[in-house]
Symmetry: C2
Subunit: 186 residues, 2 copies
DNA sequence: TCCTGAATCGGATAGTGTGTCCGGTAAGAT
DNA sequence: ATCTTACCGGACACACTATCCGATTCAGGA
């Protein structure tokens, strides 16, 4: 549930504020230390108002996640290698580099597990589609497609996490190359 | 801090009880729903007694983790392919198959993130050592050892997780083979 | 066996956070 | 202008945490 158009202005404003409060707070403290009280204080919104829109703190987080995954998908589509790779990683690495503050807070070993999992799910789905496309095109692999997809998505996240954790010691292009090399056999 | 020898019998008994209570409860409900009250009820131990030994619930969990990682290491050492692979996976897959209830509760998408991370850390360290050994033996790789280690550990966990989540549709041997194939270029 | 110190009990307590409720108010929609 | 809906804000019941302390039990050495 991203913020939709056909709602009362007040509703949009409130959701907007809460989302902003969350991202702003995530930058300051670890996610699980954030309380609902913190959120409504920062958003300057009444307590009951929060619960009128979201069940829990996690709910608010997940609501905002759509944008993240959509963004990821979007940037992966721009990748010049999108055609031949199961998961075109260059666009993703570039996107992560551009938004590294946000990405570091959300993904990575100090990130939020919920987000991490959501990202993996999105990537797995994409990988699965690419694999099916390939096999429809006549490519044969002895490995089960599910496992290949899980591997492709998981190992990409592993590299991305490592990269973010280590302050991005290489350019996005190098990372994409690394990923391609490491998963060449898949 | 595993349960050590040189302590008062009562201390050992208490810790033993609490550890048992935790593992037993993990089998019944998700880890984050478990409260300290649940633990001391199940262990039949006073509240203050719990806090005399552990700071928090996580503390208790982490204390018991040593055994898990040591077990993993142990079983990986028994692996016949231990010599030539960066991470010998067969022993691990077999060990996971034998204790699949426990492993499913701890690792995997429905598992406990803390445990997952601890396992990755242990594997990464092991992989790092193997890589250093190789490079000392004259092997050259264009990829940074840190990244290789993170990739080896992470992708092994990905496969293990996928395997456990999907009710182990293949024997451990097949999984180990899969892992070897998928990471052949590393 | 007896004694001493340590561990445990158990119940009280302060503190924090959650989630719900409701009457009153303010702001949007038509 | 009026009707509708969202919001406020404070109160409330509840759950869980973490600490404390006097009383009790128990382990292990003399």
């Amino acid at each position: 549930m991203t913020i939709e158009e056909g709602q009362d202005r007040r509703v949009r404003r409130t959701k907007q504020r809460l989302q902003a409060a969350l991202t702003s707070l995530i930058g300051e403290m670890s996610y699980d230390k954030i309380t609902v009280q913190d959120l409504i204080d920062r958003a300057d919104v009444g307590r009951s108002t929060f619960y009128a829109h979201y069940e829990t703190k996690d709910d608010l987080l997940i609501s905002g996640l759509d944008r993240l995954t959509v963004d990821m998908e979007l940037h992966m589509a721009d990748d010049p290698s999108a055609a031949d790779a199961i998961l075109p990683s260059l666009g993703l690495f570039r996107h992560a580099a551009e938004n590294h503050e946000r990405f570091r807070a959300l993904i990575g070993s100090r990130g939020i597990d919920l987000v991490h999992k959501a990202a993996i799910d999105a990537l797995t789905e994409r990988a699965r589609a690419a694999i099916d496309r390939r096999s429809a095109a006549g490519e044969h692999s002895s490995l089960p497609p599910d496992a290949r997809a899980a591997f492709a998505a998981g190992s990409l996240m592993v590299l991305l996490t490592w990269w973010l954790d280590n302050d991005m010691p290489y350019p996005a292009e190098t990372m994409a190359d690394m990923y391609r090399q490491l998963t060449a056999t898949a």
